[in-house]
Symmetry: C2
Subunit: 315 residues, 2 copies
Protein backbone atom coordinates (compact mmCIF):
# COMPACT_ATOMS: atom_id res chain seq x y z
CA UNK A 1 0.00 0.00 0.00
CA UNK A 2 1.33 3.43 -0.89
CA UNK A 3 1.45 6.24 1.66
CA UNK A 4 -1.03 8.91 0.65
CA UNK A 5 -0.04 12.56 0.38
CA UNK A 6 -1.55 15.10 2.77
CA UNK A 7 -2.51 18.61 1.76
CA UNK A 8 -2.09 21.08 4.61
CA UNK A 9 -3.34 24.66 4.52
CA UNK A 10 -2.59 27.05 7.35
CA UNK A 11 -0.41 29.85 8.58
CA UNK A 12 3.34 30.27 8.37
CA UNK A 13 4.69 32.81 10.77
CA UNK A 14 7.36 34.41 12.86
CA UNK A 15 6.65 33.99 16.56
CA UNK A 16 8.17 36.19 19.24
CA UNK A 17 8.02 34.17 22.44
CA UNK A 18 8.46 35.03 26.11
CA UNK A 19 8.79 32.30 28.72
CA UNK A 20 8.53 32.39 32.53
CA UNK A 21 11.93 30.74 32.98
CA UNK A 22 15.04 30.59 30.78
CA UNK A 23 14.87 27.79 28.23
CA UNK A 24 17.59 26.46 25.93
CA UNK A 25 17.78 27.41 22.28
CA UNK A 26 18.88 24.87 19.62
CA UNK A 27 22.51 25.76 20.38
CA UNK A 28 22.04 25.35 24.12
CA UNK A 29 21.97 29.02 25.14
CA UNK A 30 19.27 29.61 27.73
CA UNK A 31 17.09 32.72 27.69
CA UNK A 32 13.50 33.77 28.35
CA UNK A 33 12.90 35.73 25.17
CA UNK A 34 13.05 34.53 21.57
CA UNK A 35 12.34 36.56 18.43
CA UNK A 36 11.73 35.55 14.80
CA UNK A 37 11.03 31.94 15.72
CA UNK A 38 9.72 30.20 12.60
CA UNK A 39 6.21 28.97 13.37
CA UNK A 40 2.63 28.88 12.15
CA UNK A 41 0.10 26.04 12.04
CA UNK A 42 1.10 24.79 8.58
CA UNK A 43 4.78 24.72 9.57
CA UNK A 44 4.22 22.64 12.72
CA UNK A 45 1.66 20.30 11.14
CA UNK A 46 3.70 19.62 8.03
CA UNK A 47 6.94 18.96 9.94
CA UNK A 48 5.16 16.46 12.18
CA UNK A 49 3.20 14.78 9.37
CA UNK A 50 6.27 14.42 7.19
CA UNK A 51 7.71 11.84 9.60
CA UNK A 52 5.12 9.49 8.06
CA UNK A 53 3.85 10.80 4.73
CA UNK A 54 4.49 13.23 1.88
CA UNK A 55 2.99 16.65 2.54
CA UNK A 56 1.85 19.49 0.28
CA UNK A 57 1.64 22.89 1.92
CA UNK A 58 -0.62 25.76 0.94
CA UNK A 59 0.38 28.96 2.75
CA UNK A 60 1.84 32.42 2.32
CA UNK A 61 5.09 33.95 3.55
CA UNK A 62 6.64 37.40 3.06
CA UNK A 63 9.96 38.51 1.60
CA UNK A 64 11.53 38.20 5.04
CA UNK A 65 10.84 34.48 5.52
CA UNK A 66 14.11 32.51 5.47
CA UNK A 67 14.67 30.22 2.51
CA UNK A 68 16.52 27.90 4.90
CA UNK A 69 13.27 27.13 6.71
CA UNK A 70 11.74 26.11 3.39
CA UNK A 71 14.84 24.03 2.64
CA UNK A 72 14.34 22.18 5.93
CA UNK A 73 10.79 21.40 4.88
CA UNK A 74 11.84 20.25 1.40
CA UNK A 75 14.43 17.93 2.93
CA UNK A 76 11.54 16.10 4.68
CA UNK A 77 9.20 15.11 1.80
CA UNK A 78 7.31 18.40 2.15
CA UNK A 79 6.29 19.92 -1.18
CA UNK A 80 6.56 23.71 -0.86
CA UNK A 81 5.29 24.57 -4.34
CA UNK A 82 2.04 25.74 -2.76
CA UNK A 83 3.79 28.21 -0.46
CA UNK A 84 3.35 31.63 -2.01
CA UNK A 85 6.02 34.23 -1.38
CA UNK A 86 4.10 37.52 -1.34
CA UNK A 87 5.51 41.02 -1.36
CA UNK A 88 5.52 42.20 2.25
CA UNK A 89 6.23 40.87 5.74
CA UNK A 90 5.40 37.45 7.11
CA UNK A 91 2.56 37.03 9.62
CA UNK A 92 3.89 37.68 13.13
CA UNK A 93 2.59 36.69 16.55
CA UNK A 94 4.04 37.75 19.89
CA UNK A 95 3.03 35.93 23.04
CA UNK A 96 4.01 35.64 26.69
CA UNK A 97 3.51 32.37 28.54
CA UNK A 98 2.40 32.29 32.18
CA UNK A 99 4.22 30.25 34.83
CA UNK A 100 1.93 27.26 34.20
CA UNK A 101 3.12 27.11 30.54
CA UNK A 102 -0.54 26.67 29.59
CA UNK A 103 -2.07 30.13 29.71
CA UNK A 104 -0.56 32.86 27.59
CA UNK A 105 -1.15 36.47 26.65
CA UNK A 106 -1.05 37.65 23.06
CA UNK A 107 1.08 40.79 23.08
CA UNK A 108 0.91 41.56 19.37
CA UNK A 109 -0.46 40.16 16.11
CA UNK A 110 0.60 41.49 12.70
CA UNK A 111 -1.29 39.83 9.85
CA UNK A 112 0.99 41.34 7.16
CA UNK A 113 0.84 39.22 3.94
CA UNK A 114 -1.63 36.86 5.66
CA UNK A 115 -4.27 39.62 5.53
CA UNK A 116 -4.77 39.10 1.79
CA UNK A 117 -4.12 35.37 1.71
CA UNK A 118 -6.18 33.46 -0.86
CA UNK A 119 -5.07 29.84 -0.88
CA UNK A 120 -3.85 28.73 -4.32
CA UNK A 121 -3.37 25.04 -4.91
CA UNK A 122 -0.25 24.11 -6.86
CA UNK A 123 -0.53 21.71 -9.82
CA UNK A 124 -1.63 18.24 -8.80
CA UNK A 125 -2.73 19.25 -5.27
CA UNK A 126 -6.40 18.87 -6.27
CA UNK A 127 -6.16 15.09 -6.09
CA UNK A 128 -4.95 15.08 -2.44
CA UNK A 129 -6.65 12.24 -0.56
CA UNK A 130 -6.09 13.72 2.93
CA UNK A 131 -6.68 17.37 3.68
CA UNK A 132 -5.86 19.27 6.86
CA UNK A 133 -7.62 22.62 6.97
CA UNK A 134 -5.65 24.50 9.61
CA UNK A 135 -7.16 27.21 11.74
CA UNK A 136 -7.82 30.03 9.25
CA UNK A 137 -11.02 31.84 8.17
CA UNK A 138 -13.67 29.18 7.44
CA UNK A 139 -14.36 30.91 4.11
CA UNK A 140 -10.77 30.12 3.08
CA UNK A 141 -11.04 26.59 4.44
CA UNK A 142 -14.12 26.08 2.21
CA UNK A 143 -12.31 27.64 -0.74
CA UNK A 144 -9.54 25.06 -0.41
CA UNK A 145 -12.01 22.23 0.03
CA UNK A 146 -13.83 23.27 -3.16
CA UNK A 147 -10.60 22.75 -5.08
CA UNK A 148 -10.06 19.17 -3.89
CA UNK A 149 -11.73 16.74 -6.27
CA UNK A 150 -12.38 13.68 -4.14
CA UNK A 151 -10.89 13.85 -0.65
CA UNK A 152 -10.92 10.65 1.40
CA UNK A 153 -10.53 12.47 4.69
CA UNK A 154 -11.16 16.13 5.45
CA UNK A 155 -9.81 17.28 8.82
CA UNK A 156 -10.47 20.79 10.12
CA UNK A 157 -9.26 22.86 13.02
CA UNK A 158 -10.92 26.09 14.14
CA UNK A 159 -10.97 28.46 17.12
CA UNK A 160 -13.16 30.63 19.38
CA UNK A 161 -12.72 33.62 17.06
CA UNK A 162 -14.45 31.86 14.13
CA UNK A 163 -16.99 30.02 16.31
CA UNK A 164 -18.22 33.36 17.62
CA UNK A 165 -17.60 35.55 14.57
CA UNK A 166 -18.43 33.30 11.60
CA UNK A 167 -20.94 30.75 12.88
CA UNK A 168 -22.79 30.27 9.57
CA UNK A 169 -19.71 29.80 7.40
CA UNK A 170 -18.20 27.56 10.05
CA UNK A 171 -21.39 25.45 10.15
CA UNK A 172 -21.04 24.87 6.39
CA UNK A 173 -17.44 23.82 6.84
CA UNK A 174 -18.22 21.49 9.74
CA UNK A 175 -20.94 19.83 7.68
CA UNK A 176 -18.33 18.94 5.06
CA UNK A 177 -15.65 17.91 7.56
CA UNK A 178 -14.92 14.26 8.35
CA UNK A 179 -12.91 14.96 11.47
CA UNK A 180 -13.08 18.13 13.52
CA UNK A 181 -10.23 18.91 15.92
CA UNK A 182 -10.88 21.50 18.64
CA UNK A 183 -10.08 22.00 22.31
CA UNK A 184 -12.44 21.57 25.25
CA UNK A 185 -13.33 25.25 25.57
CA UNK A 186 -14.04 25.45 21.84
CA UNK A 187 -16.26 22.35 22.04
CA UNK A 188 -18.23 23.98 24.85
CA UNK A 189 -18.53 27.26 22.94
CA UNK A 190 -19.52 25.59 19.67
CA UNK A 191 -22.19 23.37 21.25
CA UNK A 192 -23.31 25.67 24.03
CA UNK A 193 -23.06 22.64 26.33
CA UNK A 194 -20.62 22.43 29.25
CA UNK A 195 -20.66 18.64 29.69
CA UNK A 196 -18.13 17.27 27.19
CA UNK A 197 -19.90 13.95 26.52
CA UNK A 198 -23.08 15.79 25.58
CA UNK A 199 -21.20 18.56 23.75
CA UNK A 200 -19.53 15.89 21.59
CA UNK A 201 -22.88 14.29 20.73
CA UNK A 202 -24.23 17.66 19.70
CA UNK A 203 -21.24 18.45 17.49
CA UNK A 204 -21.30 15.02 15.83
CA UNK A 205 -24.96 15.66 14.93
CA UNK A 206 -23.79 18.64 12.84
CA UNK A 207 -22.02 16.55 10.24
CA UNK A 208 -18.54 15.32 11.15
CA UNK A 209 -17.99 11.58 11.39
CA UNK A 210 -15.40 12.09 14.09
CA UNK A 211 -14.50 14.67 16.71
CA UNK A 212 -11.28 15.17 18.62
CA UNK A 213 -11.33 17.29 21.75
CA UNK A 214 -7.86 18.35 22.89
CA UNK A 215 -7.25 18.94 26.60
CA UNK A 216 -3.60 20.01 26.60
CA UNK A 217 -1.64 18.39 29.42
CA UNK A 218 -4.69 16.21 30.17
CA UNK A 219 -4.58 14.42 26.82
CA UNK A 220 -7.32 14.24 24.22
CA UNK A 221 -10.61 12.55 23.45
CA UNK A 222 -11.92 11.01 20.23
CA UNK A 223 -15.62 10.53 19.57
CA UNK A 224 -17.40 8.80 16.70
CA UNK A 225 -20.42 6.51 16.25
CA UNK A 226 -18.38 3.54 17.47
CA UNK A 227 -17.40 5.00 20.80
CA UNK A 228 -15.03 7.16 22.78
CA UNK A 229 -11.27 6.93 23.08
CA UNK A 230 -9.25 8.76 25.73
CA UNK A 231 -5.58 9.37 25.02
CA UNK A 232 -3.45 10.42 27.97
CA UNK A 233 -0.71 12.98 27.50
CA UNK A 234 2.81 11.91 28.33
CA UNK A 235 4.04 13.20 31.68
CA UNK A 236 7.04 15.14 30.52
CA UNK A 237 9.56 16.47 33.00
CA UNK A 238 10.76 19.21 30.67
CA UNK A 239 8.01 21.15 28.99
CA UNK A 240 9.66 24.14 27.36
CA UNK A 241 7.37 25.69 24.74
CA UNK A 242 3.80 24.59 24.05
CA UNK A 243 3.55 26.69 20.87
CA UNK A 244 2.48 24.46 17.98
CA UNK A 245 1.62 21.43 20.13
CA UNK A 246 -1.94 21.22 18.76
CA UNK A 247 -0.71 21.57 15.17
CA UNK A 248 1.96 18.93 15.72
CA UNK A 249 -0.74 16.68 17.17
CA UNK A 250 -2.84 17.10 14.00
CA UNK A 251 0.23 16.51 11.82
CA UNK A 252 1.27 13.32 13.62
CA UNK A 253 -2.30 12.05 13.53
CA UNK A 254 -2.73 12.69 9.80
CA UNK A 255 0.70 11.31 9.03
CA UNK A 256 -0.25 8.02 10.66
CA UNK A 257 -3.60 7.91 8.85
CA UNK A 258 -2.00 8.72 5.49
CA UNK A 259 0.44 5.89 6.03
CA UNK A 260 -2.42 3.45 6.73
CA UNK A 261 -5.16 4.66 4.40
CA UNK A 262 -7.97 3.55 6.71
CA UNK A 263 -9.97 5.79 9.00
CA UNK A 264 -12.00 3.36 11.09
CA UNK A 265 -12.39 3.62 14.86
CA UNK A 266 -9.55 1.23 15.75
CA UNK A 267 -7.12 3.03 13.41
CA UNK A 268 -8.19 6.38 14.84
CA UNK A 269 -7.23 5.20 18.33
CA UNK A 270 -3.71 4.45 17.17
CA UNK A 271 -3.57 7.67 15.17
CA UNK A 272 -4.46 9.63 18.33
CA UNK A 273 -1.43 8.16 20.09
CA UNK A 274 0.78 9.17 17.17
CA UNK A 275 -0.57 12.72 17.35
CA UNK A 276 0.04 12.76 21.10
CA UNK A 277 3.60 11.54 20.61
CA UNK A 278 4.34 14.17 17.94
CA UNK A 279 2.99 16.91 20.23
CA UNK A 280 5.17 15.67 23.10
CA UNK A 281 8.31 16.16 20.99
CA UNK A 282 7.10 19.62 20.00
CA UNK A 283 6.76 20.97 23.55
CA UNK A 284 10.21 19.78 24.62
CA UNK A 285 12.01 22.50 22.65
CA UNK A 286 11.52 26.07 21.48
CA UNK A 287 9.67 26.56 18.19
CA UNK A 288 10.02 23.71 15.72
CA UNK A 289 13.33 22.51 17.23
CA UNK A 290 11.64 19.46 18.77
CA UNK A 291 10.03 18.21 15.57
CA UNK A 292 12.02 19.33 12.57
CA UNK A 293 14.15 16.17 12.64
CA UNK A 294 11.32 13.93 13.79
CA UNK A 295 11.51 10.38 12.47
CA UNK A 296 8.87 7.68 12.40
CA UNK A 297 10.91 5.57 14.82
CA UNK A 298 11.06 8.32 17.44
CA UNK A 299 7.30 8.60 17.31
CA UNK A 300 6.75 4.85 17.47
CA UNK A 301 8.88 4.49 20.60
CA UNK A 302 7.02 7.25 22.32
CA UNK A 303 3.67 5.74 21.29
CA UNK A 304 4.69 2.62 23.20
CA UNK A 305 5.44 4.76 26.27
CA UNK A 306 2.03 6.38 26.01
CA UNK A 307 0.33 2.99 25.60
CA UNK A 308 2.10 1.74 28.68
CA UNK A 309 0.76 4.70 30.71
CA UNK A 310 -2.77 3.30 30.54
CA UNK A 311 -2.03 -0.40 30.24
CA UNK A 312 -3.94 -2.61 32.68
CA UNK A 313 -3.28 -6.34 32.67
CA UNK A 314 -5.84 -9.07 33.29
CA UNK A 315 -6.34 -10.21 36.89
CA UNK B 1 -7.68 -15.73 50.55
CA UNK B 2 -9.73 -13.75 53.00
CA UNK B 3 -10.70 -10.15 52.29
CA UNK B 4 -8.87 -7.89 54.71
CA UNK B 5 -10.72 -5.33 56.80
CA UNK B 6 -10.06 -1.62 56.22
CA UNK B 7 -9.94 0.96 58.99
CA UNK B 8 -11.17 4.35 57.85
CA UNK B 9 -10.86 7.52 59.90
CA UNK B 10 -12.37 10.77 58.72
CA UNK B 11 -15.28 13.14 58.98
CA UNK B 12 -18.99 12.44 59.13
CA UNK B 13 -21.10 15.45 58.33
CA UNK B 14 -24.22 17.17 57.21
CA UNK B 15 -23.71 18.95 53.90
CA UNK B 16 -25.92 21.78 52.67
CA UNK B 17 -25.48 21.87 48.91
CA UNK B 18 -26.42 24.37 46.22
CA UNK B 19 -26.23 23.46 42.55
CA UNK B 20 -26.27 25.62 39.40
CA UNK B 21 -29.18 23.66 37.89
CA UNK B 22 -32.01 21.61 39.45
CA UNK B 23 -30.96 18.04 40.15
CA UNK B 24 -33.09 15.06 41.20
CA UNK B 25 -33.28 13.86 44.79
CA UNK B 26 -33.50 10.12 45.61
CA UNK B 27 -37.30 10.35 45.19
CA UNK B 28 -37.00 12.11 41.81
CA UNK B 29 -37.91 15.65 42.90
CA UNK B 30 -35.61 18.15 41.19
CA UNK B 31 -34.26 21.19 43.05
CA UNK B 32 -31.13 23.31 43.30
CA UNK B 33 -30.80 23.37 47.07
CA UNK B 34 -30.38 20.44 49.47
CA UNK B 35 -29.99 20.62 53.24
CA UNK B 36 -28.87 18.04 55.84
CA UNK B 37 -27.36 15.75 53.21
CA UNK B 38 -25.44 13.03 55.03
CA UNK B 39 -21.79 13.31 53.98
CA UNK B 40 -18.21 13.49 55.21
CA UNK B 41 -15.07 11.75 54.00
CA UNK B 42 -15.47 8.67 56.21
CA UNK B 43 -19.06 8.22 55.08
CA UNK B 44 -18.23 8.31 51.35
CA UNK B 45 -15.07 6.23 51.63
CA UNK B 46 -16.65 3.52 53.77
CA UNK B 47 -19.75 3.19 51.58
CA UNK B 48 -17.56 2.78 48.47
CA UNK B 49 -15.05 0.42 50.11
CA UNK B 50 -17.77 -1.78 51.56
CA UNK B 51 -18.69 -2.97 48.06
CA UNK B 52 -15.50 -5.04 48.32
CA UNK B 53 -14.36 -5.42 51.91
CA UNK B 54 -15.37 -5.10 55.55
CA UNK B 55 -14.83 -1.61 56.91
CA UNK B 56 -14.25 -0.20 60.40
CA UNK B 57 -15.03 3.48 60.81
CA UNK B 58 -13.50 5.87 63.32
CA UNK B 59 -15.39 9.17 63.40
CA UNK B 60 -17.63 11.38 65.48
CA UNK B 61 -21.25 12.47 65.00
CA UNK B 62 -23.57 14.62 67.12
CA UNK B 63 -26.96 13.94 68.70
CA UNK B 64 -28.65 15.10 65.51
CA UNK B 65 -27.07 12.50 63.21
CA UNK B 66 -29.74 10.07 61.96
CA UNK B 67 -29.50 6.51 63.25
CA UNK B 68 -30.90 5.43 59.85
CA UNK B 69 -27.67 6.56 58.15
CA UNK B 70 -25.69 4.35 60.54
CA UNK B 71 -28.14 1.50 59.86
CA UNK B 72 -27.41 1.84 56.13
CA UNK B 73 -23.70 1.54 56.87
CA UNK B 74 -24.19 -1.47 59.15
CA UNK B 75 -26.21 -3.21 56.42
CA UNK B 76 -23.09 -3.06 54.20
CA UNK B 77 -20.36 -4.79 56.27
CA UNK B 78 -19.40 -1.46 57.86
CA UNK B 79 -18.56 -1.74 61.55
CA UNK B 80 -19.80 1.45 63.24
CA UNK B 81 -18.53 0.63 66.74
CA UNK B 82 -15.78 3.24 66.24
CA UNK B 83 -18.26 6.01 65.49
CA UNK B 84 -18.58 8.09 68.63
CA UNK B 85 -21.88 9.87 69.26
CA UNK B 86 -20.85 13.04 71.09
CA UNK B 87 -23.09 15.54 72.87
CA UNK B 88 -23.67 18.40 70.43
CA UNK B 89 -24.27 18.97 66.73
CA UNK B 90 -22.68 17.11 63.82
CA UNK B 91 -20.01 18.80 61.68
CA UNK B 92 -21.72 20.85 58.93
CA UNK B 93 -20.46 22.17 55.59
CA UNK B 94 -22.37 24.43 53.26
CA UNK B 95 -21.18 24.86 49.69
CA UNK B 96 -22.31 26.30 46.38
CA UNK B 97 -21.14 24.74 43.13
CA UNK B 98 -20.32 26.87 40.08
CA UNK B 99 -21.76 26.16 36.63
CA UNK B 100 -18.76 23.96 35.76
CA UNK B 101 -19.60 21.61 38.68
CA UNK B 102 -15.90 21.69 39.54
CA UNK B 103 -15.29 24.94 41.36
CA UNK B 104 -17.25 25.65 44.49
CA UNK B 105 -17.55 28.25 47.23
CA UNK B 106 -17.66 27.28 50.87
CA UNK B 107 -20.51 29.31 52.36
CA UNK B 108 -20.27 28.02 55.91
CA UNK B 109 -18.36 25.52 58.04
CA UNK B 110 -19.45 24.53 61.55
CA UNK B 111 -17.02 22.16 63.23
CA UNK B 112 -19.39 21.38 66.14
CA UNK B 113 -18.50 18.01 67.75
CA UNK B 114 -15.65 17.61 65.25
CA UNK B 115 -13.78 20.44 67.01
CA UNK B 116 -12.91 18.16 69.92
CA UNK B 117 -12.58 14.93 67.99
CA UNK B 118 -9.92 12.56 69.32
CA UNK B 119 -10.09 9.32 67.33
CA UNK B 120 -10.76 6.31 69.55
CA UNK B 121 -10.24 2.89 68.07
CA UNK B 122 -12.89 0.34 69.01
CA UNK B 123 -11.81 -3.10 70.29
CA UNK B 124 -9.97 -5.10 67.66
CA UNK B 125 -9.39 -2.17 65.31
CA UNK B 126 -5.69 -2.08 66.21
CA UNK B 127 -5.01 -5.14 64.06
CA UNK B 128 -6.42 -3.53 60.87
CA UNK B 129 -4.19 -4.42 57.90
CA UNK B 130 -5.34 -1.52 55.68
CA UNK B 131 -5.75 1.99 57.02
CA UNK B 132 -7.24 5.00 55.26
CA UNK B 133 -6.38 8.22 57.06
CA UNK B 134 -8.95 10.63 55.67
CA UNK B 135 -8.32 14.34 55.39
CA UNK B 136 -8.21 15.49 59.05
CA UNK B 137 -5.50 17.20 61.15
CA UNK B 138 -2.22 15.31 60.54
CA UNK B 139 -1.76 15.14 64.33
CA UNK B 140 -4.94 13.06 64.54
CA UNK B 141 -3.89 10.96 61.55
CA UNK B 142 -0.64 10.16 63.38
CA UNK B 143 -2.58 9.43 66.58
CA UNK B 144 -4.62 6.81 64.73
CA UNK B 145 -1.55 5.35 63.08
CA UNK B 146 0.16 4.98 66.45
CA UNK B 147 -2.69 2.74 67.56
CA UNK B 148 -2.38 0.32 64.63
CA UNK B 149 -0.01 -2.50 65.50
CA UNK B 150 1.22 -3.70 62.13
CA UNK B 151 -0.49 -2.09 59.15
CA UNK B 152 0.17 -3.62 55.72
CA UNK B 153 -0.89 -0.50 53.85
CA UNK B 154 -1.25 3.03 55.19
CA UNK B 155 -3.08 5.40 52.86
CA UNK B 156 -3.42 9.10 53.64
CA UNK B 157 -5.32 12.01 52.18
CA UNK B 158 -4.61 15.64 53.05
CA UNK B 159 -5.36 19.14 51.78
CA UNK B 160 -3.96 22.64 51.16
CA UNK B 161 -4.96 23.74 54.66
CA UNK B 162 -2.62 21.22 56.35
CA UNK B 163 0.13 21.51 53.72
CA UNK B 164 0.39 25.21 54.47
CA UNK B 165 -0.54 25.22 58.14
CA UNK B 166 1.04 22.04 59.54
CA UNK B 167 4.02 21.27 57.29
CA UNK B 168 6.15 19.61 59.98
CA UNK B 169 3.46 17.31 61.34
CA UNK B 170 2.37 16.51 57.81
CA UNK B 171 5.96 15.63 56.85
CA UNK B 172 6.05 13.10 59.72
CA UNK B 173 2.81 11.60 58.53
CA UNK B 174 3.93 11.41 54.88
CA UNK B 175 7.12 9.65 55.97
CA UNK B 176 5.01 6.90 57.52
CA UNK B 177 2.51 6.71 54.66
CA UNK B 178 2.65 3.97 52.02
CA UNK B 179 0.30 5.67 49.60
CA UNK B 180 -0.47 9.38 49.55
CA UNK B 181 -3.60 10.58 47.71
CA UNK B 182 -3.81 14.28 46.83
CA UNK B 183 -4.96 16.40 43.91
CA UNK B 184 -2.80 18.20 41.37
CA UNK B 185 -2.88 21.58 43.11
CA UNK B 186 -1.98 19.96 46.43
CA UNK B 187 0.92 18.10 44.78
CA UNK B 188 2.22 21.41 43.42
CA UNK B 189 1.82 23.13 46.76
CA UNK B 190 3.43 20.29 48.72
CA UNK B 191 6.46 19.99 46.42
CA UNK B 192 6.75 23.61 45.34
CA UNK B 193 7.09 22.30 41.78
CA UNK B 194 4.59 23.05 39.02
CA UNK B 195 5.53 20.21 36.67
CA UNK B 196 3.62 17.13 37.89
CA UNK B 197 6.21 14.54 36.84
CA UNK B 198 8.90 16.36 38.83
CA UNK B 199 6.51 17.16 41.70
CA UNK B 200 5.74 13.43 41.98
CA UNK B 201 9.43 12.50 42.12
CA UNK B 202 9.97 15.05 44.87
CA UNK B 203 7.04 13.78 46.94
CA UNK B 204 8.08 10.13 46.55
CA UNK B 205 11.52 11.10 47.91
CA UNK B 206 9.80 12.11 51.17
CA UNK B 207 8.79 8.60 52.14
CA UNK B 208 5.69 7.22 50.47
CA UNK B 209 6.05 4.15 48.24
CA UNK B 210 3.23 5.35 46.04
CA UNK B 211 1.54 8.62 45.13
CA UNK B 212 -1.84 9.22 43.54
CA UNK B 213 -2.55 12.61 42.00
CA UNK B 214 -6.24 13.19 41.34
CA UNK B 215 -7.24 15.48 38.48
CA UNK B 216 -11.04 15.43 38.77
CA UNK B 217 -12.74 15.11 35.39
CA UNK B 218 -9.32 14.51 33.82
CA UNK B 219 -8.73 11.26 35.71
CA UNK B 220 -5.84 10.44 38.00
CA UNK B 221 -2.19 9.47 38.01
CA UNK B 222 -0.29 6.85 40.01
CA UNK B 223 3.46 7.03 40.60
CA UNK B 224 5.80 4.55 42.24
CA UNK B 225 9.31 3.21 41.64
CA UNK B 226 8.00 0.93 38.89
CA UNK B 227 6.45 3.62 36.76
CA UNK B 228 3.48 5.83 36.07
CA UNK B 229 -0.12 4.86 35.42
CA UNK B 230 -2.72 7.26 34.00
CA UNK B 231 -6.35 6.45 34.65
CA UNK B 232 -8.88 8.34 32.54
CA UNK B 233 -12.13 9.49 34.10
CA UNK B 234 -15.34 8.16 32.58
CA UNK B 235 -17.07 10.69 30.35
CA UNK B 236 -20.39 10.89 32.14
CA UNK B 237 -23.34 12.66 30.55
CA UNK B 238 -24.99 13.37 33.86
CA UNK B 239 -22.70 14.73 36.52
CA UNK B 240 -24.92 15.89 39.36
CA UNK B 241 -22.91 16.35 42.54
CA UNK B 242 -19.12 15.97 42.81
CA UNK B 243 -19.19 16.06 46.63
CA UNK B 244 -17.40 12.99 47.97
CA UNK B 245 -15.96 11.88 44.63
CA UNK B 246 -12.38 11.86 45.92
CA UNK B 247 -13.38 9.97 49.06
CA UNK B 248 -15.35 7.44 47.01
CA UNK B 249 -12.29 7.04 44.81
CA UNK B 250 -10.14 6.25 47.85
CA UNK B 251 -12.80 3.86 49.15
CA UNK B 252 -13.13 1.95 45.89
CA UNK B 253 -9.36 1.75 45.55
CA UNK B 254 -8.84 0.43 49.08
CA UNK B 255 -11.76 -1.95 48.75
CA UNK B 256 -10.14 -3.53 45.71
CA UNK B 257 -6.74 -3.74 47.44
CA UNK B 258 -8.24 -5.25 50.60
CA UNK B 259 -9.94 -7.87 48.47
CA UNK B 260 -6.63 -8.77 46.78
CA UNK B 261 -4.11 -8.36 49.59
CA UNK B 262 -1.27 -7.33 47.25
CA UNK B 263 -0.07 -3.82 46.65
CA UNK B 264 2.36 -4.19 43.74
CA UNK B 265 2.39 -1.88 40.72
CA UNK B 266 0.15 -4.05 38.50
CA UNK B 267 -2.46 -4.43 41.25
CA UNK B 268 -2.35 -0.68 41.88
CA UNK B 269 -3.25 -0.05 38.24
CA UNK B 270 -6.38 -2.16 38.57
CA UNK B 271 -7.16 -0.61 41.96
CA UNK B 272 -7.01 2.87 40.38
CA UNK B 273 -9.71 1.85 37.90
CA UNK B 274 -11.89 0.57 40.74
CA UNK B 275 -11.49 3.89 42.54
CA UNK B 276 -12.34 5.76 39.36
CA UNK B 277 -15.45 3.62 38.87
CA UNK B 278 -16.63 4.15 42.45
CA UNK B 279 -16.17 7.93 42.06
CA UNK B 280 -18.17 7.88 38.83
CA UNK B 281 -21.17 6.39 40.65
CA UNK B 282 -20.80 8.98 43.39
CA UNK B 283 -21.07 12.02 41.12
CA UNK B 284 -24.18 10.77 39.34
CA UNK B 285 -26.45 11.49 42.31
CA UNK B 286 -26.78 13.90 45.21
CA UNK B 287 -24.89 13.04 48.39
CA UNK B 288 -24.35 9.33 48.95
CA UNK B 289 -27.34 8.32 46.81
CA UNK B 290 -25.07 7.07 44.02
CA UNK B 291 -22.95 4.77 46.19
CA UNK B 292 -24.95 3.63 49.18
CA UNK B 293 -26.22 0.56 47.30
CA UNK B 294 -23.02 0.05 45.34
CA UNK B 295 -22.23 -3.59 44.58
CA UNK B 296 -19.01 -5.14 43.41
CA UNK B 297 -20.63 -6.12 40.10
CA UNK B 298 -21.63 -2.52 39.31
CA UNK B 299 -18.06 -1.43 39.84
CA UNK B 300 -16.61 -4.27 37.77
CA UNK B 301 -18.81 -3.43 34.79
CA UNK B 302 -17.80 0.19 34.91
CA UNK B 303 -14.13 -0.76 35.23
CA UNK B 304 -14.49 -2.55 31.90
CA UNK B 305 -15.95 0.63 30.36
CA UNK B 306 -13.03 2.66 31.69
CA UNK B 307 -10.52 0.12 30.36
CA UNK B 308 -12.15 0.29 26.96
CA UNK B 309 -11.73 4.09 26.91
CA UNK B 310 -7.96 3.74 26.57
CA UNK B 311 -7.75 0.39 24.82
CA UNK B 312 -5.53 0.36 21.72
CA UNK B 313 -5.25 -2.85 19.71
CA UNK B 314 -2.15 -4.12 17.97
CA UNK B 315 -1.63 -3.02 14.36
Amino acid sequence: MQTRPILIVGSMAFDDLEFPVPVPDADGTARTSFVDVVGGSATYSSLAASAFAPVRVVAVVGNDFPESALDTMRSRQIDTAGIERADGLTFRWKGRYHADLVNRDTLDTQLNVFANFRPKLADGYGDSPLVLLGNIHPELQLEVLDQIRKPELVVADTMNFWITGEPKTLAKLIERTDLLIINDEEARLLSGIHNLARAAKDILSRGPKGLIIKRGEHGSLYFDKDGIFASPALLLENVVDPTGAGDSFAGGLLGYLADHGTYDHATMRRAMLHGTAAASFCVEAVGTNGIRSLEREHVRKRVERIRHLTHVGEE
